[in-house]
Each structure stands twice: as structure tokens, then as C-alpha cells.
Symmetry: C2
Subunit: 378 residues, 2 copies
Amino acid sequence: MFHTIIQFGDHRYPFMTGVGVLAEAGNYVQELHIHQYMIITDEHTPDHIVKETEAAFGRLAPVRVLTFQPGEEWKNLSTVHELCKQVIDLGADRRTAIVALGGGVSGNVAGMVAGLLFRGLPLIHVPTTLMSASDSVLSLKQAVNLTQGKNLVGMFYTPKLICVELPFLQSLAERDLRSGMCELVKNLLAICPERINEYRRKLRPNNQYELDELQQFIAFCIEAKTKVMADDPYEKKDGLVLEYGHTIGHALELTCKGKYTHGECISFGMLCAAYISQRLGLLTAEETAMHHELLERIGYQVELEPEWLPIIEQYVQNDNKRGYRERRPGCTGMVLLNGLGTIHREDDAWITMVDNSLISEAIRSVQERRAIMHGSRT
Amino acid sequence: MFHTIIQFGDHRYPFMTGVGVLAEAGNYVQELHIHQYMIITDEHTPDHIVKETEAAFGRLAPVRVLTFQPGEEWKNLSTVHELCKQVIDLGADRRTAIVALGGGVSGNVAGMVAGLLFRGLPLIHVPTTLMSASDSVLSLKQAVNLTQGKNLVGMFYTPKLICVELPFLQSLAERDLRSGMCELVKNLLAICPERINEYRRKLRPNNQYELDELQQFIAFCIEAKTKVMADDPYEKKDGLVLEYGHTIGHALELTCKGKYTHGECISFGMLCAAYISQRLGLLTAEETAMHHELLERIGYQVELEPEWLPIIEQYVQNDNKRGYRERRPGCTGMVLLNGLGTIHREDDAWITMVDNSLISEAIRSVQERRAIMHGSRT
């Protein structure tokens, strides 16, 4: 077991990882005098996980389960609105806690419901994917999509508790584990390059890991996030490094409609960002190669379909980082690295303005490199 | 002109009242580097007010106007969602400021749009009603309704600036001025009873006031609000006194569908709360009579329709104060006074649990008293 206190700015909350941690959740929320728990999850969360979570919170107070349709396309304000109404119909009041059960989408949707109802109900995250356990629940950012782009509406909202019941993660499909490992690779490249040598030996292309390895990975991700968020809880400065790979990655994610996971899409975005950083003289060829090597080690493999390219380019220009800096026609703001582990700062800003033509070149070049490697393998 | 800095907890923002203050707004938001302004208002805001506001902000940066349908029934998450999409379609980024132009509903709807887009865009309030200028913009609370009740979904969000262009208030209908004056009476009764003698002479049943009188009223409301919110910005403790009259008042507001203004409904709720406070030995008959006297002086006149009673009772039980305290079957939590100017505390809570039967008795009794007085007049 691994218990710690997350501290980002003034925001503090306990984080529990291990086997059987759900049974201990009650000890951490006693002072909230919670009357009832409402578990919000999507319909794909395995039955036994829902049942176990229901049973654990049911020992503390009455519990209800609300579900919504899985997938990014349901991560929107209409879903949040519908769930808010259901939660009220089930008799919620200010002593009702929302339990966000599932992956990143459940965490965000339930996080918005908790943040908005009565201007804030207690929120408990029970992440069931490696990605959510090691990444999304560690951010105070909640958000849902508009039809125009990802995560355009949201808020900062702090949970009261995170419970990672490790065996839940072992029931994941390999692609879901790999998605989480992509985030770990991001942390290695963008925040803690001094840990690369230790980790490159531990990574496996089949993404099968023991529970204690998963726990170690989560602990590392907490360490990396804390490094940049302790003094930047709202991720406006150094914390923006966590958006590495996200400008192009989000655009791919919206385009591919679920063919690739969030982590895979962000990884593609990191490869593009590395290409751009290298072209601008900010990364060496070896540092870019390290991106490819680490992602190879976790079995990363993304191939774009040719018709996606213009769609991706369109989405890139609607990215939600717009406006961190003055607009520049023909340019898009991106997080770039200036050497591994260091966000590039341009004119005192943490976002670098990149020519859209260079972005297109990067996407095509990364795609070709993958195609060549993939072709030479088969 | 009257310029001040509002300070509630760590939240600070400038508040300007006077003639021609809109022209000065730019001086207060320079450091935000705003690229464009989006004015959100409802379709009933008079044309000349929209035009003047557009012109004032248009001198600073490009400006767009977005409207939504007026009225409480459009104050919901669907309207917020629709406006968020429109704002993005018009090219918003993090340097876009939202200008909330209008009464309380515009303030809340635009406040939610600003709070949610990009997890928070700069918000400027340009209230055009006495109610919004002296009450709603002075709260950090933003909220919209669910079909199940008022203000059930929302957030705390701090504006960057408040501009009260006083002549806008003079174009109001008498009922809208009276609505704002109801809030002033609430502040006299619930926060600053030492000012009652000074104010009772100033109140007029026709609600026609000079600009300098309106300015004085607004300054008084700022003073009263600051008294309870300086150390309680989230209105969870002493700040809850601002909810005086709101439990039954909100229920009436939802029931009467616009026949009475927000202020009139809250006034009815205050009369009921005073009745209950007196029945519980917390207010004297003279203190309750003072409620009636001050409201008479501003021309208050509310008559319930008989079929409203059961609907009001139903809404009372869905009030959003639910859960501030342990539930008690057959009871509803209310803000009561223990003498004028003092919120009643019960078991260390700021909310008192009141028998639903006493609430029904209060509603009927206040209604009968009004009917008798009204009957004796005609």
C-alpha cells in the first residue's frame, strides 16, 4: 500500500493506492458527515468493479449508481446536465458525495457534476485505469468537450480523496495499460529525464506488470506531477509542461474517434512536438530519438489514415491553449521542450508560437517515419 | 461617481458607479491584455443600453453581442451550453472577456459562461437593474436552475470589474426598481438595523429616485454585504444571512412564473421567516411589524393565488440549502433572525430546522394579513 498527501498550492487531498484501499476510504472522509454516496460511472465499467465499489461505500451510507454512455462523444455538458438532474431526483443534498468511478472521462464528467451541484459537492475519485490513476485524477482540472474542441468548458475542482484499488487496473485491456504508460513516458521525457535510465529497463511492449510495479509507476507519476504543480496548481506556468504533446495529440484524438487511446494520441503529439523542437534547435537528434525509443518500449504504434490530416490540422487551430499568448496569424501555440525535462520559454511565455506549416510538416514526417519502420518490420 | 474595491476573503475587484463610468472601464482591465469582448445579454435589454455598452468596449477592442431569451426558465445549463458554443464560434480564446450586461439572470448566465469557458475567462459585470447592481453582482456565486429547483448548479467565480452606469437604472420600470429596493430592505432588517431610522424616511412607494439617491443605496448595499462577506466570501456562515427570505421566496418565484419580481418574492419570504422567527420567540411583534412597515414604504404588494400554495410547499422542500444540516424528517432548513441584524444560530449551525407545518402556517398567515390589508384599502 502507498498512502500519501497530494499538495498542489493550497489544495491538499489524500491519495491511497494498494489492495483493499476502498475498505479504508471511510476513515478519510469521516469529518464530511456524508449522508449518501452517488457513484457515477460509464456503462463499460466492468460489473464486478461497480459491485465492489458499491459494497465498499454502502458500508458507510446509502449508495446509488448512475451511469452514462461511454466515450469522448458523451463527455459534454448535456451529459453533465442530465446527471445533475438525476442526482437531484435521487435526493442529493449538500451531504451527498459524488464517487467518480472509471477512467478519465468518468473522472471528468463526475468531477463536473460534483463541482457544479450546490456549487460543489464532495468528490471522491476511484480511478480504474492506469491513465486516470496516474494522470487525470492528479490534476485539479475538470472539463468536458464542446462540439468545437476538447475540454473547452470546465473548472478547477479539488477532490476530497483518491482511492486506487490496484486490482481494478489489472483487469484492463493491454491498450488501456499502454495508454497509461504513455503518460509515464511523457513524465520521463518532459519532467524527470534523470529517471529514464532506470525506467527504460522496466518498460515492456506487452504492458503486463505486477501490482507492485503498477504501484511504483503511480508513485513516480505523483512525484513528477508534484514537481511541477506544487507551486502551479492551476497549470498556467511550469505546470503547462503536462500539456506536452497535447496540441496535436488532442486533435488526433478528436479525429480518430476512439481508434487510438488518449495516451497513444498524446504520444503521437509528443513525437510531433519533438520533431518541431529539434527543427527549432531546442532538442538534439538523440533526444528526439529517445522519444521514439521509450514509446517503442511500451509497444506504441499509431498509423494515421490519410484523410485524417486536414481534419487534424483544423482541430489543432481550435486547441484550448489559444490565447495564452498574443495571436499570431498562421501560428499555433504549443508546449515545446528545450532539452529533455525543461519546458521551452519564449518571450517569457511557457507556450511557443509555431508556424502551422511546420506543424503540418511534423505530422507528415512523424507519420512517414512510423510507416517506414512499420513497413520494414513486416 | 463612487469607486471602491470590493474585498471578500482573498477576492478583490473594483466597483465603479456613476454617470459615464463605462468609458473608464478600460483603465481597470489593461493588465489583462484583452483581445476582444463578448457581451452577453438577454433580448429584453433596451437597445440603447446594448448600443452604448457595445460602443464603450468597442473603443478598447473588437466587440460582439450575444443574446439569449429572457426569463428564469432560460436560466439553465442548456442556455449556458449554447452560449459557450457561440462564443467559441466567434473566435474566443483566453484573452476574450465576457461582459455580463443586464439583470440578475444575465449576470448569472454570462457568469457561468465566463467561469466555464477555458476554465475561466475574465468577467466584467455591467448590471442594468438596481437588483443586480446592489445585490447579485456583489456575490461570487454564479448559478443556473435545474427543472427541479433554482440555482442548483453553479460555481463561485470572481469578476474582474463591476461597472454600474447609473442612467441605465433610471430606464427601469417601477417594478424593477422596487425589486432592488426589496434587497435594500433585507439588508436593513437582517444586517444593518441601526440604519433603519435613517432609511425609512427615504423610501418611497413609487420608487422614483434621483441618480444620487440610487448611488447612495448601492453604496449602502456594498457596505452591508461587506459586513458579512469580508470573512465569508463563500457565504457558508455569517454570509448565509443574505439568504434571509430566500427559502420560501425562491419557491414563490418558481411558482408565480414572473408575475412577481425576485425582490417581491424574497420579501414575501422574509415576512414568512419573520412570522416563524416570532412564533419561535426570536423576534418581537414590533420587529416583525418593522418588516411590514419597510416593505409598505416601498410599495410592496404580493397576493398569492390559492392554487399556488401546494406548489410552493413542494418547492420549499427542494430548496438548495438542503444538507447544510443533518436532515430531519418533516423539517426544512431556513435562515431566521434572532433580533433584527442577527442570524439565528441553532446547535452551532447558521440554518434553523423549521417544521414544515409551521412553514405552511406562516405562508397562509402572511397571505391572509396581506389580503385583509389589501381588502381594507379598496
